[in-house]
């Protein structure tokens, strides 16, 4: 049940996903070289503002039924859909990643009129990098699990999804000690800086063929 922090996460540049998030459609969207260069410059600037960090925690399942999962540390999660996803899992992983406050501050200032074009590009860059950072953490966990003959569920769940209420954000947030990564949780259970994601996944065994 060791909580693991990643102070610096390095991910492959998700350039295709950034363009796709901005609405680029291969073969349809037409961008001339000058505009393309401008966009690339914005993306380069955005990259310098990112501060990708994250953490994860493995928790053994103590007890579970079709709607409730009891984990170590007296954690109780209620959700039929989550329980279904975790039906073959003996352990659960909480994981979280953030793009940091710097880029979110820039997005906020730019989108108020200073440079809205920059804001939408920074926003897409931050979102995609945060998702990529969470994906990176999942890969890291899998590389550790492989040696134990275990594997992470391919699906993940976030608070606020289906019947897994947003209130659960608090449990995950506190378990992951996201405060140490500079992340706050508002009274409405929203993560600040807003380019922060958290998720729950299960751990299962790799069986003999």
């Amino acid at each position: 049940m060791t909580l693991k922090f990643f102070d610096k996460i390095h991910v492959e540049f998700p350039i295709k996903k950034i363009y796709s998030r901005l609405g680029f459609v291969q073969g349809v969207t037409q961008v001339n070289e000058e505009i393309d260069q401008k966009i690339e410059n914005y993306i380069s600037k955005a990259e310098l503002l990112l501060d990708l960090k994250g953490s994860f925690l493995r928790l053994p399942v103590i007890k579970k039924n079709s709607s409730t999962i009891n984990l170590a540390n007296n954690i109780k999660l209620k959700s039929i859909r989550l329980a279904k996803m975790l039906e073959n899992s003996s352990e659960v992983v909480f994981m979280g990643a953030t793009a940091g406050a710097k880029i979110v501050k820039e997005i906020s200032l730019d989108s108020r009129g200073r440079d809205v074009t920059g804001a939408v590009i920074f926003d897409a860059v931050a979102s995609e990098f945060t998702d990529a950072a969470l994906e990176w953490i999942a890969k890291y966990i899998n590389s550790e699990l492989r040696r134990e003959n275990k594997i992470l569920t391919t699906r993940r769940f976030s608070a606020g999804y289906a019947d897994f209420t947003l209130k659960n954000q608090k449990i995950i947030y506190e378990s992951l000690q996201m405060k140490k990564l500079g992340v706050d949780l508002t009274e409405a259970f929203i993560l600040k800086p807003e380019k922060t994601v958290m998720a729950v996944a299960g751990i299962g065994l790799i069986n003999d063929a």
Binding site: D7, H10, G23, Q30, S111, L205, A209
Partner: protein, 810 residues
């Protein structure tokens, strides 16, 4: 009885494929090792069982078995409360030796610590080296024959482990990294860069293990083989895990594994075994399939290439494009950079690195030499920063030997040293460092006593330095000869002697060559002309690399400049005359001239909006006003049709979001210029329609709402933007105060979108008589309908909806 030393291992792999063992963990689990225990401790407590696993692999045909010490480092063992690292490694190595009874080699297995090493993580580099040294010492005491560093996902951790081995032992050492589906390690290192880095650092065999099955490894092996001067290793899983009947399994049968093993060997694998999911039968199948098969030996004995953690640059061959080394990270003559470096700030370093990469630099020269600075500390800091933000390999440029050493030690790639001259102390200290860390180096042909003016003398010095370097084990591929450029203004033959040096070094001596171009033109007018012309001349002579400023625009070849460089223009008279003529012309800014040359300024304004030229549009609008174009007509007939067309292109997806927003911002800039002229017009008109915009209570996401605000303003709406996390009462109050025709609400969360309903209910209760428009990531049309609002999925739709409301209202 086999000989267990490096020499014998080198002989074996030349004759046949060396077979490695298979998975240990799964075998131990089959023998009863429970989940969640410390495997190393369990092996110590059950020596007969781990010895059984080793013996089975040996019996199946493995030439090398790995000791059960994968996680036997201080950090991993600490998680189980174990601190006696040395003794646990020693004992487990002994069990392995005892199990195989000299029938095969025992490799001391070193796995990752689970921490990332600086500059990619928080574990100090020297701490990591010491952690691995502790393990290496224990394994040596246990009598291992060779070392294997495996399943590394961080190139820096692999380097730390390899340095730890190399500083204690010269035993044969294998290093394998684990690559994800995208062909990169988790930290983004590609297999070629890893190979270049690790083989130059002293690994005896490099390759990959775990993560993928043998089929997936084929491509990876094909990629790296051409760059390897050492044998290649593969230790794949038994296929990829598959979900069968609700269970995840590795299901590649041993026979199939063996057959694909044959393909791996034909692609160049020299050491082959199995990882997760493999068992002794897989190793037996390999042995059977590979019997009598001739291995493909390394295809080269040296390589001219440098690498970073995530990329590499090949420096071989004259036909390659000239490799540009960016020189801007050098504080000489740069006050701001000096100031920042002294203050320990790296913002400018980061920017310069990015800018140079964008302008085509392939390598970055790093020099932090400022008076009264701790150069050793500063260069480590700068290199750690650059290793994270740029993929470009680095050139370590320092006159301080200890700074070069520290930089090479922590740099997570193969660096280029700038430079090693014939100065005795440099030769004596820098050459061993270059060899230890596997760096390439720039050979600078000068001595303590002289800066040689002639090619003849330079050649003598080059040969002398190389002779010494060769004694340390350097090859020509490790060297880049500097053509030594002196200034043509003080020595008219300076360029010719450099040309001769480059011609000989590239053509006869057959090494890579480099020049710091800008020296040639020092003290001359129009330096860019001379530099560009000399660059072209030297390229013809075989120059392969150039150090210059990629941020300066490249000038063109010039025949007057050539006259100076080839010493045909006496006292540079013709060139100076030509330059004076050039200086006599007024400066031409082509773009500006073209801007006002256009006869149809309204069309220019239209195009500027279409192209999102926020910077240019103000010039065009002012020009239109100067040409007496009616401002209102300009808006009506050029700007509105332009932004409408942008919206049309956006909806057809021919434009994407940045283009839509850039156009909207260009429109906004145009309005800013037009504002004083439109004021008089506005007074005559009816009042603008008001839209109140807000992100609802509890929600802090507002970029979508800000885009809608920008778009609406461009269409002449008066927008009251209340910001984010706004209570319903504040929204109602504003709608009343400004007599809003429309309330626009945004939400990004399912939990906050319910607050939209509250606003609408209250507005209706108070009979505000306005329309409602909602949007945001989680909102859709059916939700909007359910709360009696209209739905806008983007800024363009929001404008259309707002226009519809106003028309309906009228």
């Amino acid at each position: 009885m086999m000989h267990k030393n490096m020499e014998s291992m080198n002989n074996i792999f030349k004759k046949r494929v060396v077979i490695l063992d298979g998975a240990t963990g799964t075998q131990l689990q089959k023998l009863g090792m429970p989940q969640g225990v410390c495997p190393e401790k369990w092996c110590l407590e059950n020596p007969q069982l781990i010895q059984k696993v080793h013996a089975e692999y040996s019996k199946s045909g493995a030439d090398i078995i790995y000791s059960a010490t994968f996680g036997a480092n201080r950090i991993k063992l600490k998680q189980y409360g174990i601190s006696d690292v040395k003794s646990i490694n020693k004992q487990l190595a002994r069990y392995a030796k005892k199990a195989v009874k000299d029938k095969c080699f025992v490799a001391g297995d070193i796995g990752p610590t689970g921490k990332f090493i600086e500059p990619f993580g928080s574990l100090g580099f020297e701490d990591a080296v010491n952690i691995f040294k502790e393990q290496v010492k224990g394994l040596l005491e246990g009598g291992v024959d060779i070392f294997v560093i495996e399943t590394m996902m961080d190139i820096q951790e692999a380097r730390a482990a390899l340095i730890a081995v190399r500083e204690i032992s010269d035993k044969f050492t294998i290093v394998t990294l684990t690559y994800e589906k995208n062909g990169l390690t988790l930290n983004g290192t590609d297999p070629i860069s890893a190979l270049i880095t690790l083989q130059s650092l002293g690994a005896n065999a490099v390759g990959c293990n775990c993560s993928s099955g043998p089929l997936q490894m084929l491509n990876l092996i094909k990629k790296i083989k051409p760059y390897a001067k050492i044998p290649i290793v593969a230790k794949p899983n038994a296929g990829m895990p598959k979900l069968i009947n609700g269970k995840t399994v590795f299901n590649m049968p041993a026979e199939e594994f063996g057959k694909i093993g044959k393909k791996l060997v034909s692609c160049g694998v020299n050491f082959l075994g199995g990882c997760c999911g493999t068992a002794p039968e897989h190793i037996f199948a390999l042995k059977k399939q590979l019997a009598g098969l001739k291995p493909v030996l390394p295809l080269r004995d040296a390589i001219s290439a440098v690498s970073s953690a995530t990329a590499h640059v090949m420096l071989e061959g004259k036909s390659l494009p000239l490799v540009k080394v960016g020189e801007c990270i050098n504080p000489t003559g740069k006050k701001e950079l000096q100031k920042q470096l002294k203050a320990g700030k790296l913002a400018l370093v980061r920017t310069l690195a990015k800018q140079q990469a964008d302008k085509g630099a392939k390598l970055l020269d790093v020099n932090v030499g400022v008076s009264n600075i701790d150069e050793k500390k500063t260069i480590v800091k700068v290199i750690s920063c650059l290793a994270q933000i740029t993929r470009l390999p680095l050139v370590i440029d320092s006159s301080k030997i200890e700074a070069v050493e520290q930089a090479l030690r922590i740099y997570p790639g193969r660096a280029l040293i700038n430079s090693i001259s014939a100065e005795k102390h440099k030769l004596k200290k820098l050459l061993p460092l270059a060899v230890k860390y596997g760096a390439m180096f720039i050979l600078l042909p000068l001595t303590e006593q002289e800066v040689p003016k002639t090619f003849k003398r330079r050649k003598q010095i080059i040969l002398k330095i190389f002779k010494t370097a060769k004694q340390y084990g350097c090859k020509k591929a490790d060297v880049v000869v500097d053509g030594l450029i002196l200034t043509v203004s003080s020595n008219p033959r300076a360029a010719i002697e450099t040309m001769k040096t480059i011609r000989w070094a590239a053509g006869n001596f057959r090494v890579n060559t480099i020049c710091g171009l800008s020296n040639i033109s020092f003290g001359m007018p129009q330096r860019a002309l001379l530099n560009a012309t000399f660059r072209r001349i030297l390229r013809k002579e075989g120059l392969s690399m150039v150090i210059d400023n990629p941020l300066h625009p490249l000038s063109r070849y010039n025949r007057y400049a050539e006259g100076v460089l080839l010493a045909k223009d006496k006292n540079s008279a013709e060139y100076v005359k030509y330059c004076k003529k050039l200086e006599g012309y007024p400066k031409i800014n082509e773009k500006n001239t073209e801007k006002i040359k256009e006869d149809n300024p309204a069309k220019k304004v239209y195009n500027a909006i279409l192209e999102g030229s926020r910077e240019d549009i103000a010039v065009y609008v002012r020009h239109a006003i100067k040409k007496q174009i009616d401002p209102e007509k300009l808006v009506r007939e050029s700007m509105i049709p332009a932004i409408n067309h942008v919206g049309f292109l956006y909806e057809k997806k021919e434009y994407f979001l940045p283009q839509l927003i850039a156009s909207a911002e260009a429109m906004k800039s145009a309005f800013f210029v037009l504002a004083p002229y439109l004021k008089q017009e506005k007074e005559k008109k009816v009042k603008q329609a008001v839209v109140v915009l807000a992100t609802v209570k509890g929600d802090i996401h507002d970029i979508g709402k800000n885009i809608v605000a920008l778009m609406l303003k461009n269409y002449g709406f008066k927008v009251i933007d209340l910001g984010k996390d706004v209570s319903s009462s504040k929204i109602i109050k504003a709608a009343k105060k400004y007599k809003a025709a429309l309330i626009g609400l945004s939400a990004l969360m399912t939990t906050t979108m319910v607050n939209m309903q509250e606003v609408i209910a209250r507005a209706k209760k108070e009979n505000l008589g306005c329309g409602f428009m909602v949007g945001g990531a989680v909102v859709n049309k059916s939700f909007a309908n359910s709360i009696e609002a209209e739905y806008a999925s983007n800024g363009v739709e929001a404008v259309r909806l707002a226009q519809k409301f106003i028309t309906r209202g009228k």
